[in-house]
Amino acid sequence: MCAITAPSSSSTAADPPAGAAAVELHGITKRFPGVVANHNIDITVRRGTVHALVGENGAGKSTLMKILYGMQKPDEGTITLDGTQVTFASPADAIARGIGMVHQHFMLADNLTVLENTVLGSEKLHGIGDAARAKIRELSEAYGLGIRPDVLVEDLGVADRQRVEILKVLYRGARTLILDEPTAVLVPQEVDALFDNLRGLKAEGLTVLFISHKLGEVLAVADDITVIRRGTTVASVKPADVTSKQLAELMVGSELPTPETRESTVTDIPMLRVGDLHLTAVDADGVPREVLDRISFTIHKGEVLGIAGVEGNGQSELVEAIMGLRDPDDGSIVLDGADISHAATRKRRESGIGYIPEDRQRHGLLLEAPLWENRILGHTTERPNSRGMLIDAAAARKDTKRIVEEYDVRTPGIDVTAASLSGGNQQKLIVGREMSHQPKLLIAAHPTRGVDVGAQADIWEQIREARREGLAVLLISADLDELIGLSDTLRVMYRGRLVADADPAAITPEELGSAMTGAASGHLEDDTAARDAVVDKPAAPDTPGAADGGQGGGRTR
């Protein structure tokens, strides 16, 4: 940790040749009711560099960037751009000063076209018609974004949406770009492409502020790194001077646990058999399309089956078909010997399916209801939640207290609403609830999305433990390290079909990523070239470098 200097003294350490720094944040403090999100933060960003910001969930990174973007007003501190001190009343002011921000959660209107989303708020630049369209084409071409201006955003996949977000910023002629976790939902190839774009921008003299939980990426792309912990800057480092393990420990402030060795618990008793599953869905324009095409797989007791795939390739629909939220046109779903292909969702849950949905706020929680009612959700008919036709509130409350204890849900009580918990704690509550009914099969979609490192490890541990006792798990995740580290078997889903399978012990995230884009299919193990390089990868989620896995906030549409 030789290269680490105290933040206060580092502010002018790297004096840019061209005079003042692009961005200088000084003494920024921001308090929310009961929380100090930012406390006396100092950051200096040199013009024409990529400056990374890292830190745990809730460390205050997004808040700081929102302050720089004029969305939040700092309680204390100053913002200086190119040597001039400024105050922003709204994002409009920041945009006028050449700052652009790509947010952690997509800021796009689905029902509007790419063009409309792009010109919104900056109509004065090129109007809202053909001139704007031409400008978008021009930018898209210049930066290789491949954007069609008249498509509805609704019809775009995540990667395209990401590019639209970047285009929005470029369209406004931003000189300083803030990218808040732009890579969380991208596959490695897409990340590479993005980084190429960033280097291009840098070459043109633009400044980039970049937030990511994937420390490998940070080290690869950043010129400077600032570490934030509990709202304050704790270190400023150069990528050349640190390893990702050191960086992770700076973030967390203590040493990370050492990985645990894997042992296989797979049995040969099938728990879930999906055969020839077929599903068509009608989209918003009434056009039917195939979303699941002849899907077949088996999960045994004690096995974790991981499904990799770029979002929007049918994973959600597969989960929904297994949960009974969509009725398949054809094929069978057999759980523990019983055919449940067309059974009601409740029936399925009663017969032992646990469900950690990908969008916890929409599918897993009643945000306005207290925790103990959320504990009942999904298991209304089961003990201890009910007796006969009646809800057993007392028992449910008692059990909620148990879950809060056992799963370390940080909350002042079980009567607060679910909305008032942070994302990670909401997730822990869901995991605790689903595990409390001894499921035979757990469907876990992005179980650690947006959860910080500590909680993430807990959740993995819960899943492993249950697996040891014979639980079968269907794991869907955009986090390839998590997938590789946790799964016993891996399948790749592409355009509604399972196109490839792989042995998690012998595959790299890069290989998996390329299969996800449809570039490879069949059994992926034959790829010998990567074999050697991969040796110590399997347990990725637990390795210190793992802090990579701590993907921050899940993207919601």
């Binding site: 009961g34 969702t345 849950r349 959700l377 999904g378 008919t381 009910s386 008032s420």
Partner: protein
Amino acid sequence: MKRLDRDKLITAVGAPVLAVFAALVLTSVIILISGKDPFRAYQVMIEFGTTDRSAIYIVNKSTMFFLSALAVAIGFRMNLFNIGVDGQYRIAAFFAAAVGGALSLPGIIQIPLIILVAMGVGAIWAGIAGVLRTTRGVSEVITTIMLNSIAGAVIGYYLTAGRLGEKDGNLTHTPNLPSSSRIFMIETSVGDINGFVVFAVLAGVLYWFILNRTRFGFDLRSVGQSETAAAASGVDVKRMIVTSMVLSGAVAGLVGMPTLLGESYNYGTDFPLGVGFTGIAIALLGRNHPVGIALGALLWAFLERTGTQLEFEGYDQKIVEVIKGIIVLCVVIAYEVVRRWALRDQQRRVGEELAQARKTEKAEVGA
């Protein structure tokens, strides 16, 4: 725990107090503009509104309002907007009256039969909206608006002499119920309280019990809070929509019963109209809670009662209509303001405790 209860209390009491205060101020201004004395008006309202006979009137009238609001509230709890309670109760009361007028069974059989017919017809009428919504995706707002008007036409068709009606002077009504089919009255020295109030109270208790204590109620509320989460939790959302529309309609069917069984004994061209719309306002006032609804219904009846007396005292009785609007608006705003305050307070505490936890954690790590 203690704190949360205190919060609840503040929301429950603080908001209405704030609202009533604001409403009083606004109303006073309006009365003053018309050159009259507002305090005298309030005095008249309170004095007259609290007489024994007023009390009976208020109880009787609020029975109807209460049931109507309850029907609306069932929809609201599901995020369904049943504007159709008005049509539902009228068509239900009409057919119940027709059936009741045609039979002469012993009261013990016939009264329940009439009530069941009313609930059934109301349920069917509301169910149409539910089915169209789930099978054809037609918004229940449109359907219920249309069905209100269609109910009027259907009643108009059958309520003519020679069909199901009989002419009586300037009125046309269904044949009178046999005297055995009249509901009991709770007699007092100054007048009778309609016995149906007992059923209304029962309906309120059942509403509360079913929603808060049963599995079914939990499912229903979960759909209202988040359709997606409810579906993922195993609730058949479509069926729940139809079911709750049907339930709402069945309760709407009860709205006309106090009048039919205890006052008019027939459905005539003079049957009360528009109670369904009043129900919407009262459900909102009462925040879909049975006790709140009961209070709202009583308040509404109180205002109606005292309006007439205000006119007697030389005020314009329309002032009462203005007061109603102002009260509804003030109440909802006050609830919102107080709710927001409470939420912020809650979040502040969650944050504080978390920060506390972090500190202790830090201390432990440090040690």
